[in-house]
Symmetry: C2
């Protein structure tokens, strides 16, 4: 599957209009689901003409893929920003999990859209998690080198830790209205650091 190019505007106005369509698409597709969300719904929410959509995106599928890619970048950026100041990997794990759960709280539709990508655009879905997993495994590898964590398979650990974050985001953030994120992070962090062994 080759990726059809979405066209990039050159003017400030074009850049803003394109960003507005993407933001509207996040809202509309996140709420209605991909199949039910029409291009007309998206342009209406973006307060722009239907034809404007096609200046930037050749189809709803192309826009959807860009949305998923943007979300991957945004989530990585937002979690990375929160962990750069951590004194070591275990503290980075705590800060990263807390940052991720706050991303889910602030942009719950993102979570839904990424999960819908599994069905709408399996390749984009897989790329999303594969890239996240690779970056995560690299960081764990470095932490082993520095003696900040015990040795172990970095990739299995990266996926296990992503699985923890996703499951807790779903249960405690998407399903609960006023979760105490710090409490959930503290409990999970204890498990991540020390495991279940007595």
């Amino acid at each position: 599957m080759t990726k059809p190019a979405a066209s990039q505007p050159k003017t400030k106005r074009g850049i803003e209009r394109r960003a507005k369509i993407l933001a509207a698409a996040e809202q509309v597709i996140g709420e209605k689901g991909f199949a039910a969300a029409s291009i007309a719904d998206i342009t209406r929410a973006a307060e722009t003409a239907l034809g404007t959509f096609y200046i930037y995106f050749s189809s709803k599928e192309v826009l959807f893929r860009e949305l998923v890619e943007d979300m991957g970048r945004a989530t990585r950026t937002q979690t990375t920003e929160r962990i750069v100041d951590a004194p070591n990997r275990l503290e980075a794990e705590r800060a990263g999990l807390a940052a991720y759960l706050r991303v889910v709280r602030d942009r719950p539709l993102q979570y839904r859209i990424v999960e819908e990508a599994r069905f709408v655009d399996p390749e984009a879905y897989r790329t999303y998690y594969t890239e996240f997993g690779k970056a995560y495994a690299d960081q764990l590898e470095q932490a082993v080198q520095k003696g900040e964590i015990s040795p172990g398979d970095a990739e299995v650990r990266a996926w296990a830790l992503m699985g923890i974050a996703k499951a807790l985001g779903e249960r405690y953030v998407l399903w609960d209205d006023n979760v105490d994120i710090d409490r959930v992070v503290a409990e999970a962090h204890e498990l991540i650091c020390n495991g279940l062994a007595p």
Copy 2:
């Protein structure tokens, strides 16, 4: 949302025919997705007349919910069977994770159908994981009482452990053709028992 009753056959032939429709639905919906799979596709795969479907299910939605509920029961049964002989909770964790990954390997379409339930029937999806999570947390609670694992919030841990199993099932079983399940389980089990701390 009230659940319309699916009707239960009384004869042996009826029971078999109904089970055949459910098995065919797992195949067809798992491969095509819920929206694209028609009732005609399902009855064709079940080698039965289209009208027979409606003897047992009032709609595709009713059948789908039953499919998800069946899968929840089957997954719980198959993992529970594998852990009853475990001498303690840590060994039960190892056996349960291995059993779950084998379920994913043997019935990959189940995984996809349960994930699609998030969009097709969010209530069934939520019930699926909530029931699983409750039973899991109960077991962890008991293990803490017996001193087999360290104390900690049973629900957060149950969801974290389900998240690990789901993520590893996706990465290593659904995406890889010939994964060494025992290796993945061994690595994950080390993390689950002892955590990342050096």
